[in-house]
């Protein structure tokens, strides 16, 4: 089965970010979204550890370890950057000042529930800022492989893993499709042209609704 690369999923998510939007990208895979801002648009990236409008990674060996993102990777300062403490940073998050948060997921449910912080009681739990982001940003989107490594659906009727947030996700960018969550249902908006709806449904754990046209999900090689 064809599928998008992580870069392509990130590219697709980046196309929906408006010029001037304030954006928080979850640590890891979502950080890639910043690389694919469409020309002419400038998003302002927020990292919850206290930087607004940070820039790209510095060259190796030139890192300033006091200028890092939430994933503890070194970033850079740009004209217009600001620093602030954690309470102010999460005032930005919780107070609804971010336009978009893009996060990874273990599971997303058709009711908008998200599970992305705990795979169960084993191991060391860690939550970070995810629970704040999902109830703070005006729009919460998820980027993810459509299925788990062993091929099981990640888009489900209900999450089975511990929740990060309730009813918070409104759009999912997967390796196969772009799916909105509306009124407790998965609404298919775009899919890979090589994939039939039936094939997509077969790897999705809840019913896909198709109230309107389904666009071809076509991403450049990035």
């Amino acid at each position: 089965m064809d599928k998008l690369t992580n870069n392509q999923i990130a590219w697709r998510a980046a196309q929906d970010i408006a010029d001037g939007a304030y954006v928080n990208l979850g640590i890891g895979f979502p950080e890639k979204v910043a690389q694919f801002q469409p020309p002419g648009r400038q998003a302002i990236f927020h990292t919850e550890n206290g930087i607004l409008n940070f820039g790209e990674s510095p060259a190796k060996g030139t890192e300033d370890w006091d200028v890092i993102n939430a994933g503890k990777k070194a970033v850079t300062v740009k004209p217009g950057t600001s620093f602030f403490h954690h309470a102010d940073s999460f005032a930005m998050v919780r107070g609804g000042h971010l336009d978009v948060a893009i996060l990874g997921a273990y599971e997303v449910a058709e009711n908008g529930d998200l599970a992305n912080w705990s795979t169960g009681p084993k191991g060391v739990p860690a939550v970070g800022g995810a629970m704040d982001l999902v109830h703070g940003a005006k729009r919460v989107a998820v980027i993810t492989d459509h299925v788990t490594k062993d091929g099981k659906p990640k888009l489900l009727q209900r999450c089975t893993l511990p929740l990060t947030g309730v009813g918070c996700v409104t759009r999912v960018y997967t390796s196969l499709a772009v799916i909105d969550i509306e009124d407790g249902r998965f609404v298919l908006r775009e899919k890979l042209p090589s994939l039939s709806v039936e094939e997509l449904q077969a790897v999705t754990g809840a019913e896909l609704f198709i109230p309107g046209p389904v666009a071809d999900l076509i991403c450049p090689e990035v």
Binding site: G20, Y22, Q42, I44, H46, I51, L52, N53, V77, K78, P79, G80, T81, S82, F83, F84, A87, D88, F90, A91, M92, V93, R94, G95, G96, H97, L98, G136
Partner: protein, 243 residues
């Protein structure tokens, strides 16, 4: 990313009847006089906006700025902590005549309610006002043996704020104690309109010295020589200013 506007008239053009408007300042320090006067100009020209709910620490002094806004009849309700001043005649007369409503809030609670509005905290508990008339009707809860009053967040449609420096992203600094409610109100309004003494290019404010990050600001207009309420009142000015 350019949030700058060419003049104060355009900056306040979107404020409509019945809106809740936070206005920065503690007495004259931090009062965005030119934005307020632009709003009065619009009202005199168009009859709008009116029926405003204004949130400010005080209720104006003399016949300029906030006092002039009230005197013009544009304010239906004031939420403040201290509606007294050297010359509070405008508010006093309208209040005693029943022409303006007042919600009196302890100053620290006012500040915290505004911050809560900006920070997504719908309610919090404070010891302030417990057992007093200002706590009447509010839930009380005991934590660790002490009684606290539950207070709700305050939000606004618009905030009018005076800054010292601004950049096109909306990053701000303030001047001395003119800072007061400005950073909080920037957070708590759907649209924050800032008059800055000087607009500098991005990078013109050291990231360490930014007090209000641009995410909290929607519009910025340069007012290079802002009036100070105390100076206007010492000169016994009234708005519209005699020229």
């Amino acid at each position: 990313m350019d949030k700058t506007l060419p003049d104060v008239a355009r900056a306040v053009a979107g404020i409509t009847d019945g809106m809740t408007v936070m206005i920065g300042g503690f007495g004259g320090a931090g009062s965005p006089i030119e934005l307020i006067h632009a709003l009065i100009d619009r009202y005199r020209a168009t009859g709008h906006p009116t029926g405003l709910t204004v949130i400010n620490n005080n209720a104006g002094n003399g016949h300029v700025g906030l006092a002039a806004l009230i005197e013009a009849g544009m304010v239906a309700k004031l939420i403040c902590s201290f509606p007294r001043s050297a010359d509070p005649v405008v508010f006093t007369e309208m209040y005693l005549a029943g022409k303006i409503a007042l919600e009196l809030v302890p100053q620290g609670t006012l500040a915290e309610r505004i911050r809560a509005g900006g920070a997504g905290i719908p309610a919090f508990y404070t010891p302030t006002s417990f057992g007093t008339d200002l706590a009447k009707g509010k839930p009380v809860e005991v934590f660790e043996g002490r009684s606290y009053v539950q207070e709700r967040w305050l939000k606004a449609d618009v905030a009018l704020v005076k800054a010292e420096l601004a950049d096109p992203h909306g990053n701000l600094t303030y001047r001395a104690a003119a800072r007061n409610f400005g950073p909080l109100m920037c957070m708590a309004a759907a649209e924050t309109i800032v008059q800055a003494r000087r607009i500098v290019p991005p990078g013109g404010i050291d990231p360490e010295h930014v007090i209000t990050p641009g995410i909290f600001v929607q519009k910025v207009v340069e007012v290079p020589n802002p009036a100070q309420e105390e100076d206007l009142n010492l000169a016994k000015a009234t708005y519209p200013l005699e020229v």
